[in-house]
């Protein structure tokens, strides 16, 4: 269960969105829509806890969130397997790392590439690896920023299937995207929440 109430978030000291409220129940996804620059990335970063909310609250079980940004955090000098193993270790400490990794590789069709260096992947292959990272974290609440950029159609399908599984196991996903993912999930258009002027940015004291 993810509850966001009356959230105002800012980028670079300027409030971007305000009064955002929504709830996502376990097993559901929410798709964020809105034109370029409206603040989807900013909202996801705030949800993930990377930046503080100016106003309002974000509530979900502690240590359940995972964030995937425009940038994938793939190390060029590590192989696909090593890249995944690292994140598995970070999120788990120990234990079922190996099997998790294998299933993730399989889910995103990376088995053939498992020994390739991260730097020699094509744009779409990199993206798939970035998504496999998510699978490996085993977190319930996902914040995904344009997850299917550069993916070809079969890969988008792979992702949709994986996400479907994740949701049916009680997961939650908030996804910002411009293209159609083939998911049937409610959409939230952020345009109406565009922050009005002087709404509590760091410059407010000077106005």
């Amino acid at each position: 269960m993810l509850t966001v109430s009356n959230l105002t978030c800012a980028r670079g000291g300027v409030p971007v969105l305000s009064g955002v409220s929504f709830e996502v129940a376990s097993g559901d996804a929410l798709i964020l829509r809105g034109p370029n620059g409206i603040g989807k990335t900013t909202l996801l970063r705030t949800l993930a806890g990377l930046q503080p909310a100016l106003v309002g609250t974000v509530d979900y079980p502690e240590d359940a969130g995972a964030y995937a940004s425009h940038a994938d955090g793939i190390k060029a000098a590590l192989t696909v397997t090593e890249n995944l193993q690292f994140w598995a270790d970070v999120y788990e400490g120990s234990g079922s790392g190996r099997t998790l990794r294998e299933t993730a590789l399989e889910a995103f069709d990376l088995l053939d590439l498992h020994n390739r260096m991260g730097g020699t992947l094509s744009a779409g292959q990199k993206r798939r690896l970035g998504l496999a990272r998510l699978a490996v974290t085993a977190r319930k609440v996902l914040f995904l920023d344009e997850p299917t950029v550069s993916l070809d159609r079969p890969s988008v399908k792979l992702f949709a299937d994986w996400l479907h599984d994740h949701l049916s196991n009680g997961g939650i996903a908030v996804i910002a995207t411009h293209i159609d993912l083939g998911l049937d999930a409610p959409e939230l258009d952020l345009t109406p929440f565009k922050a009005a002027l002087d709404q509590g940015g760091s410059d407010e004291a000077f106005l």
């Binding site: 670079g12 002027l197 410059d203 000077f206 106005l207």
Partner: protein, 242 residues
Amino acid sequence: MSLWEYANPKRFMGWTRPVLPWTFALAGLCLAVGLIWGFFFTPDDFRQGSTVKIIYLHVPAALMAINAWIMMLVASLIWVVRRHHVSALAARAAAPVGVVMTLIALFTGGIWGQPMWGTYWAWDPRLTSFLILFLFYLGYIALWEAIEDPDTAADLTSVLCMVGSIFAILSRYAVLFWNQGLHQGASLSLDAEENVADVFWFPLLVCIAGFVLLFIALVLMRTRTEIRVRRMRALEARMRRA
């Protein structure tokens, strides 16, 4: 109304407007009186000859160089704890003034060193710690300049100022350990035994007062400028979004 209210940018602009000219006038007066008194109407020292006259610049500048950093430290702490914008901006405004004070202390000290120790520069602990202080100032200012977002810059420079202060004190001990030095110890103590003679002491006090006032006036003025810059940014941002 609590004291903190005065740190609200608008109120700050309000109460500093009338105060500023007076501070400047008083600073100018003290400096003029102190320096003219010191330069024209004090006798030469029996050992140092006319070079004692340098003391009227050297000592106040040296004191203010250290005090400016302390003021920045306090302002940084206030920013970190209470997040008053004026406090962060005042720290930013003080830094260049502190640099100038440090430079004056270094230059006058160096010039003084030539007749006294026979060299413009020696790696004496006192002088060396000032050189290090100068570097801390440079780093602090450079960090402010390098960061786009003003709040981020205030946060980061505050942390730098706090960590830097610890290391500045450490350096002082390290430098003492490293070299025993030529510079005289503090003789402005209240202990009359080692105090300088009254003829030098009174004009020196006036000069110190002048430097303190000048520092305050400059910091107020520069803080006002910084506030206006922020306000301008805010207004421009609003216009862009309108």
